[in-house]
Amino acid sequence: MFSESPLEGAEITASGVGSTMREVETGRDSRNLLPSGASGLETIGAHAWFGKHHAIEDVSLRFPKSSVTGLIGPSGCGKSTFLRLLNRMHEFIPGTAFAGQVLLDGRDIYAPEVNATEIRLKVGMVFQKPNPFPSMSIADNVLAGLRLARIKTADKYMLLEDCLVRAGLWKEVKDRLKASAGSLSGGQQQRLCIARALAVKPEVLLMDEPCSALDPGSTLRVEETIVQLSEAMTIIIVTHNMQQAARVSDYCAFFLSEGGPGRVVEAGLTSTIFTNPVDPRTADYVQGRFG
């Protein structure tokens, strides 16, 4: 499980960030700000369009294995759009377009021979709005991914309990697993969606403001889960909560659109972004001066 030594990761991180600071100031390439891992997820010059609207421009980021990256930035700057590029959900919206490369463990997920379904199994997603399946019970929702992708599991009940515990929902639903998912509160539904995403054991988990509908207690539980999961999983989380980004993420990328398409202004170690950012706009944003 813990294939990579955390020490090794830290070393790469330090050198990776130090050597590329200059490049940010010239605004040429933000890709190397994140350390180069042997495996993980990487985007190279990614662009996204909705019809004529250029939503994202030239985003190059690297998400090393077993790390948590926070995506921050004001509303409408393209964070959700960027997430959808990473598991090929972008193409479901009619009229959209994409340019660039997204590499999962070095393999381009947009290559013609790649099966998008297989990619989505490896790159799971928790959406901004809770979307449990209303026709299924709570238990069936958690296990839905297994049934949809026809995955066999030895012990479904263990997996069910494990996922619900990690999503911080087990205590509330353990006596009503057969009840309809629609009978849960909004926050409970969101935690159910997190449990559902965990059940298929993805390599990468994309979370789009997973805590925006949650109370502080559940938020804390989900944050603990994120930290715990990141030992074996690459996690990318969009959040508007700066404290949350600081608490859970190892790296941060700051998106900004300034009227035109969204781009990455700055990316790097979370501690650097929050305490000693290079770009003044980043400093303004993380300190709550705009956005």
């Binding site: 598991n87 959900m89 479901f92 379904t117 297989e118 989505r120 199994l121 490896k122 799971g124 997603m125 959406f127 709005k129 979307n131 449990p132 399946f133 209303p134 026709s135 299924m136 019970s137 069936d140 839905a144 991914g145 049934r147 949809l148 992708a149 026809r150 969606c193 559902r196 995403a197 298929v200």
Partner: protein
């Protein structure tokens, strides 16, 4: 200053939003008074009959509700006008509907007896005594033909709904256009189509031909309604499925269809409702047959609409009574089928693992 929660009173659950008994009683008395006043007006004026009473009572009731609610402001008054309008519309619609049921029962109940359900018209003349003969052949024939038509057209209709809403392939517009054009086909043309193909080719009328004529009429109804139902599935749910690594097929069959199960059952019910009383296409395809039989491939097959038609054509008192009785059976049968479809689909959901 002690906390109020220290009190030991047991709190009863209440429903303060419900009108109290005296309010309901007052409302009832007002309606009775309004109708009585309208009756008086009808007596002393050239207006006449039920329609006259309705014509006076409806505006009068609205005026009374406005007068009563205007002390709560104009919003309350407008709300009350709308409420009375909707109730009046409901009552106006209820009258013809009830009168149809009432007429059918009043004129047909004499035909109802055990032999009416167990016997057929093989050796009984249509105008013979009601103690012999029955419509078992027609009940069985209708059930067989409606069942075959449903088996053919419900899957076809739902599949074309899926093609239009889920697959959104290159022919979406064409399929939708054809479905729309088909729903305008007069039923006699559907009968003629099956007659000129299947019946002439086999040189024989048959229950199957009748069922297929019904299916031609049923497919567009099912396709249209299931398309509308499938459109109601939120896009979020499809995305949730895909994000879990689902293929499009799994997504459609395990998420989208189960989400709208009851809507799809409704589309099937509407399809059955569309065809169960069709007479003309059956006359041209399944024709008339007076003995009970279960084989839709073996020559003509009787059906409820066709026996109703031929009993009426006979014109004798007993035959006409039989026609009303058969109409009553047809109505009860359809209602029963609908209730059955609802019960089956609801049951499935509850006992699902």
């Amino acid at each position: 200053m002690t906390a109020a929660t220290n009190q030991t009173t047991v709190v009863q659950p209440l429903r303060p939003w419900r009108p109290t008994f005296s309010q309901q009683f007052a409302r009832f008395v007002t309606v009775v008074l309004v109708v009585a006043a309208a009756a008086v007006v009808v007596l002393v004026s050239p207006l006449a009959g039920l329609a006259g009473i309705a014509l006076v009572a409806i505006p009068l009731q609205m005026a009374v509700s406005v007068a009563r609610s205007s002390r709560h402001g104009s919003v309350a008054a407008r709300n009350d006008v709308a409420t009375s309008l909707i109730w009046s519309a409901f009552l106006v619609l209820l009258v013809p509907w009830m009168s149809i049921i009432f007429t059918v029962v009043r004129r047909g109940y004499q035909a109802i007896s055990v032999n009416f359900f167990t016997d057929d018209m093989r050796i009984t003349a249509p105008d013979a005594d009601l103690a012999s003969g029955g419509i078992a052949h027609a009940i069985v024939g209708t059930l067989i033909m409606v069942a075959i038509a449903s088996i053919v057209s419900v899957p076809l209709g739902i599949l074309s709904g899926i093609y239009i809403t889920e697959i959104r392939g290159r022919f979406t517009k064409v399929v939708r256009f054809i479905v729309q054009a088909m729903s305008g086909v007069p039923s006699i043309v559907a009968g003629l189509f099956i007659y000129s193909t299947l019946v002439l080719y086999n040189k024989s009328y048959s229950g199957l031909a009748g069922a297929l004529a019904l299916a031609v009429l049923m497919v567009p109804t099912v396709a249209r309604t299931s398309e509308e139902v499938l459109k109601l599935v939120p896009e979020d749910l499809r995305f949730a499925g895909y994000a879990l690594g689902s293929s499009q097929a799994s997504n459609v069959f395990r998420i989208v269809l189960p989400t709208v199960r009851s809507g799809l059952v409704t589309s099937g019910i509407l399809g059955v409702a569309r065809v169960a009383g069709e007479t003309a296409p059956l006359l041209m395809t399944a024709q008339v047959f007076l003995a009970t039989k279960g084989n839709p491939l073996d020559g003509p097959l009787g059906s409820l609409p066709v026996v109703i038609f031929s009993f009426f054509q006979n014109g004798a008192d007993n035959a006409v009574t039989r026609a009303w009785g058969a109409s009553m059976v047809l109505m009860i049968l359809i209602t029963f089928l609908f209730a059955l479809a609802r019960a089956v689909s609801a049951d499935r959901r509850r006992s699902r693992r």
